[in-house]
Symmetry: C2
Subunit: 495 residues, 2 copies
């Protein structure tokens, strides 16, 4: 009993918190309460039409059906309600005539007509392109049944039908007036905020992924680090965006969007371009989760360049997000991508210069490079990685997936042959060697694995560069949006 | 007018086709028609309670609300309807007492109670975990209003409330009997089919991606090739799976699933593991769409290995899909992944042996490899690529993004400096050189770009290998599912 009480207390606390965090929810609930309150005042109605009090439930039903959180949602539901009711009313009038002609078979006509209407309505609403009007079909069938039943009971078809239609219209009016008149909640604004949030989330996520990769974080799929998973919310926001867009395009121009020509479709397009970038971040995160991992020593070589690209790309995303929030155009005099392109090119150059770290030249069919001869000379040349005593010969030994070897100081000779195979029994590539035989070409396989592990660093860098390349599309799309929606010029450009 | 008529004719044709393709839709519509038909027979009701004919609309309303395509959906709606109605009924009884005590303020109590109920109901349904019961809250408010109005009008609260509750229960019963009794449509079956379809789609998509990459298909983002985009439907099926799962777990064991212990959650888990593979296919497709492209000559070197991995991985996916369809366990004697692991390892070895194609060793800080000396020897060694006159020295020149140079026979000296920069004005990396100055280090940049383009082939191969590595998880998950749901042993194992 005490547990129940605690649960209830807990729930109450959370409910109140929800209201504090998003007061719109309280406002919406109050609006709903008022709308029903006003409609229910109809029960005090006396003259001239006493029937109105009796059938006021139809106005209440309409309010309950139409009252949605956003204005766009209310308008769509209202449209569905209106269209469904109109068709149902027309059909009811037609069948009313038929029923009158049928004489004593009147009720049979009614029942059969309900069957036909229900069948056709249900079948048509299953048609793929009719999905947004699913609701309208339901209303249509319901209203038809209501009108028929009412007419049948009192006999005065026309009066019954008209009274109900009038009450439904009244309910719709009250609903629209209260929902739009008092603190309206616009779907377009939600969409705008969502797209901005996507930019910020992706920036955080990219930062987290690069830091995580460089710090060789062990990323378990079960643990959910919010810093990584920003990209997930970007990718998963598709359906929410589509829903909000569906509502937003119904909304009249309002507030700060009054001057801009319905930018909603462009917002969604921008967001979908951003999603293409998010897919690359997902691939980067995939490198962290990957079974084949590059050794930390090698990552350190490219550390500075990777970090620079990450920081610059993050800055671009954040700036675009901020500008979108302020509805400000890009500065036409400078290229927002200039810096990130430069740093990406530096990364590419570095990879180019150090690609011997990424491949296993021992097995080259065209002959081994003469690397060892002048290795000492070169290690003095590269400034940033001077402190790393990277001996090229030992690279193939350090290139082991560190996640499987939890001893940082391992004996260099044993590790390759035994511990790896033992720890990774169930996983590729070692499962092969266990299946095929015993020691046939174990060394060969391990070398293959090692070279794959080194190449995974190249993959990471290459995905990051592709991310930067795709940023161009986002910027292009942003410019298109800012032109079409007539975003204001940035202040810095004016001064 | 003629156009309208054609449109209607077209629509009618498509509608009839829809029914032919999925006869369940016709059956469902017929069921809906019959359910409403039976309920509407209530208008013939005379004795002993004449009120029943009058209020039969509530049974109709219930049928309209509850009748969903799948059994699970109907049960959930029914549960919502039931719970909402029950609470509304209880609350209505309580307020009815209060109203009676209030005497002449009776109607005021009603109106105020509607406001309170509407406010609380609307607010609570906005609580995140309440989303599945959103519908119940709506029914709750509606039913409360109905009961209050009815009671208010006739004065006989208890009779009014009870009659309506009985009619709602009747509607619910008819709905359940007809929907479950006649040709039931199970959400679980749909879910099962969807997961199988995901396996097949992903297989087709992987095949298409590898073929497309090897044939250097120019992939415009605007064109939608279904063979590539199977992975999209896999990725986008998340929400549909969740919806179907939400319905399926409400369904009782039935048909061929009777013996299996509610495998629905495991189906969805399997599908989400498959989705991790789909992300890799998406990344592979990203390589096709990428701005930085590997030259076709280099792709051809790895052609056979890439194709083998693709074929084997596709076979694994198809076999898993087929086994899932038959609800058959994996053969415990052989490893389904054996072949694909072998071919993946071959690919890795090939990359290892030929990684000089993927990097630009000219810039190595540790000195250039002595490749040119014995290049002629090696070109005789590799069997598969004998026909390709690959001159290592000219590779950096052929490594240009072919999409931007639409002349296949270009003069070898000019192309690097001019045409590329001109065609890619707006795109990285050439935009940099246009911004920075004129010719400072154009050659340097182009070489950087060229090496990036070669490395993109390594990325493709490395992503494919990661795809194979992730297949292990799918197989593990499949085994878990087949154990828990007690799939039958494969026939080949018995014989």
């Amino acid at each position: 009993c005490c547990i129940y009480f605690n649960n209830i207390q807990d729930f109450a606390k959370k409910t109140i918190e929800m209201g504090k965090n998003d007061p719109r929810k309280i406002i919406f609930s109050l609006k709903m309460g008022f709308a029903l309150f006003f409609v229910s005042l109809l029960i005090f109605w006396k003259e001239p039409f006493p029937e109105i009090a009796q059938f006021s439930i139809w106005a209440i039903l309409t309010v309950l059906i139409m009252f949605e959180f956003t204005i766009g949602g209310t308008l769509i539901k209202g449209f569905n309600r209106g269209l469904g009711t109109l068709f149902a009313g027309m059909l009811a009038f037609i069948f009313a005539q038929l029923a009158l002609w049928a004489g004593e078979w009147e009720k049979v006509v009614w029942v059969v007509s309900i069957f036909i209407v229900a069948f056709c309505g249900t079948y048509l609403k299953l048609y793929p392109t009719m999905a947004p009007y699913e609701y309208g079909y339901r209303v249509f069938i319901l209203t038809y049944c209501i009108l028929i039943m009412a007419g049948n009971r009192t006999g005065g078809y026309n009066v019954a039908i008209l009274t109900r239609l009038a009450l439904i219209a009244l309910g719709a009016c009250i609903c629209l007036i209260i929902n739009i008149g008092i603190c309206p909640i616009w779907a377009g604004e939600d969409l705008h905020r969502l797209v901005i949030k996507n930019f910020m989330d992706l920036a955080t996520s990219l930062e987290g992924c690069i830091d995580g990769y460089l710090n060789c974080v062990e990323c378990d799929e079960s643990t959910n680090h919010s810093e990584y998973n920003g990209y997930k919310s970007v990718i998963e926001s598709t359906s929410r965006e589509q829903t909000l867009l569906g509502f937003a395009i119904w909304e009249p121009p309002h507030g700060r969007y009054k001057m801009h020509k319905n930018p909603w479709r462009d917002f969604v397009k921008l967001s979908s371009e951003l999603r293409h970038c998010a897919f690359m971040v997902m691939a980067l995160h995939g490198c962290i989760q990957s079974k084949i991992q590059a050794p930390p020593e090698k990552r350190k070589v490219f550390q500075n360049e990777l970090k620079r690209v990450g920081i610059d790309a993050t800055n671009v995303l954040r700036e675009l997000g901020t500008k979108l929030g302020k509805m400000e155009a890009l500065n036409s005099h400078e290229n927002i991508l200039k810096e990130v392109h430069e740093t990406a090119q530096n990364l590419q150059k570095k990879i180019d210069n150090k690609s011997y770290l990424l491949v296993n030249s021992k097995n080259w069919e065209i002959g081994k490079p003469n690397i060892i001869d002048n290795f000492d000379d070169s290690s003095n040349e590269n400034g940033s990685s001077e402190n790393l005593p990277l001996n090229f010969q030992s690279l193939s030994e350090t290139a082991i997936d560190i996640r499987d070897l939890h001893t940082p100081q391992y004996p260099k000779d044993q590790l390759v042959t035994k511990s790896m195979l033992f720890n990774k029994q169930n996983h590729w590539p070692s499962c092969l060697s266990l299946l095929d035989g015993e020691k046939i070409d174990t060394i060969d396989e391990i070398e293959t694995y090692l070279s794959a592990s080194a190449l995974s660093l190249a993959t990471f860098a290459s995905l990051l560069i592709e991310f930067v390349a795709r940023l161009q599309n986002v910027v292009d799309c942003f410019e298109e949006l800012s032109q079409r929606a007539e975003f204001k010029e940035p202040i810095s450009a004016k001064s």
